[in-house]
């Protein structure tokens, strides 16, 4: 895509987050959409492109009263919204539509109007993974990590420290689910979920949503909010079966998506002021830092332990507290994008002073898919 040709002009999360037992899934999509529309000074009939995951864009359009000329139902897990941004940028540039609404809503905790997690017993996952007792993400996403730990000498303490440092960021965020400081011992003494993963190494399970509105950079200047420009994007997919990942120490989808985004953006790693890496579990930031090229293979643990990603560090990472401490309704990518937009607008609770470039990297499924969006606030 063309650098800075498209911008985010509306961004908002749901009115409430955490436990929302009185709103259904589609209601969370709509609440986030209405908040983003208000942020952009638009009404539903101003929207001519829709994108969402979890529910169909048909449901979204009808519910809000939108008649789109562009609809994207890409649903590849928690990074779907990074792909929606990428596709929306291409669609706007190609003249398919002018103003795209991307929504997320998930009743992850309360399960109001939500479907189940099950897979058909005749699917490849149903035949070749489910019979062995995988239950959900905590027993799938985690399976590669022992190989990674053995290869690079990563310890359980290293994994725990990812959660500790993200909690420090969450403490600065009034909307974060968990804000009290934790220690490495707290993490290692929390309930065992799937060894070596303890509860505090696993993401939250919450209700919530978020929405983004994108339009051309030319039009973006006329909107009430400071435009946040899309500088580069990437996407890829690898496998629906975590057991079939090519290499358990690195995500091919991360590498392909990240490289594409950096190439499009025409920036180097030293240009990056702020970074979001979807952290469904504590190992994800380690893989992300390495697969995006911020660290050499095996060096992410030392980078994090050296407090480079912590408050005051040279590469602030997951400044909202992340999926581990801020919010995780199931498809967290939307919240990572929201934090990148806040940082580029200069309004984040833990604002990185003078930040001009934010990299937002998402994962979908269990290392199944990936999407990367690089934002800038400089026209």
């Amino acid at each position: 895509m063309m650098q800075k040709s498209v911008a985010v002009v509306g961004a908002a999360e749901t009115t409430k987050m955490g436990k929302i037992p009185d709103v259904s899934v589609i209601g969370l999509h709509a609440d986030a959409a209405l908040n983003a529309l208000a942020d952009a000074g638009l009404k539903p009939t101003d929207i001519d492109g829709v994108a969402c995951a979890g529910i169909s864009p048909v449901e979204l359009a009808q519910y809000l009263g939108i008649t789109p000329t562009y609809a994207d139902g890409t649903s590849v897990g928690g990074c779907s919204f990074m792909l929606h941004v990428r596709h929306a940028a291409a669609a706007i540039n190609a003249g398919l539509c002018t103003t795209v609404l991307i929504t997320h809503g998930e009743s992850g905790r309360s399960r109001v109007g939500a479907g189940g997690f099950g897979r058909a017993p005749s699917s490849l996952m149903g035949q070749f993974e489910m019979p062995y007792g995988v239950t959900a993400p905590p027993t799938m996403f985690t399976i590669p990590v022992l190989r990674y730990m053995k290869t690079y000498g990563v310890t359980e303490e290293d994994l725990a420290n990812v959660a500790v440092i993200q909690r420090e960021w969450a403490a600065k965020n009034p909307r974060a689910s968990y804000r009290d400081p934790i220690t490495i011992d707290d993490v290692l003494n929390s309930d065992m979920i799937a060894w070596p993963f303890r509860k505090l190494m696993c993401c939250l399970v919450t209700d919530g949503g978020g929405a983004l509105i994108l339009t051309s950079a030319e039009r973006a200047k006329d909107f009430p909010q400071k435009p946040v420009y899309v500088l580069g994007t990437g996407e890829s997919v690898e496998t629906p079966l975590v057991s079939q990942m090519e290499d358990f120490t690195t995500s091919k989808a991360f590498r392909v998506s990240g490289k594409k985004a950096f190439d499009e953006a025409g920036i180097s790693h030293a240009d990056v002021d702020h970074l979001m890496i979807y952290d469904a579990f504590a190992h994800l930031p380690l893989y992300g830092l390495e697969d995006l090229g911020f660290c050499k293979p095996g060096e992410a643990k030392d980078f994090i332990n050296g407090r480079n990603t912590a408050i005051g560090g040279k590469l602030p990472l997951n400044t909202n507290g992340g999926g581990l401490s801020y919010m995780h309704s199931g498809m967290y990518g939307m919240y990572a994008l929201q934090e990148s937009v806040r940082q580029m607008r200069g309004i984040a609770p833990a604002q990185v002073d003078g930040a001009k470039i934010s990299v937002c990297h998402g994962v979908g499924g269990m290392f199944a898919a990936s999407g990367t969006v690089i934002f800038t606030n400089e026209a």
Partner: protein
């Protein structure tokens, strides 16, 4: 305890589940490149060639990675169990359970040699598990 969740074979995978019922671990390979692959499908990934064959694997493997699930699925009892990925001698990897040894980090050491065993779960489905290799 509810009955264990079992696979439902499809036409493309039936031979694999017939094999496990008969005590054989069947893989497929591309007849042009010789490369083995898994899960089953009637063509070779990457090359796209339909010129493939089914063959009996050695059943030898090593432990590639795993977790020990401390919140057992209702159909899997109450004790923690390992969910593992094994590296088959022929190249592909597969998800499985490790049997015949304690489900502990001390007993489950990465790269340990394993061998396949088959456990009958129903009249039509036997699951391939792996146990520490003997001798």
């Amino acid at each position: 305890m509810p009955p264990r969740i079992l696979p439902e074979p499809t036409p493309e995978t039936q031979h694999f589940w017939d094999g496990t019922r008969n005590g054989e671990l069947l893989l497929q390979r591309c007849k042009e490149t010789g490369e083995a692959y898994f899960p089953p499908r009637p063509f070779a990934p990457k090359t796209g060639s339909r010129n493939v064959e089914v063959f009996k694997a050695s059943g030898r493997a090593t432990l590639y990675s795993y977790v020990i699930n401390h919140r057992p699925r209702p159909d899997m009892g109450t004790e923690p169990y390992a969910i593992a990925v094994v590296q088959l001698e022929e190249g592909p990897r597969m998800m499985t359970n490790i049997v015949g040894c304690p489900q502990t980090p001390e007993a489950l050491v990465l790269d340990m040699p394993l061998e396949v065993v088959f456990e009958k779960m129903s009249d039509t489905i036997s699951l391939p598990f792996f146990q520490p290799a003997k001798g």
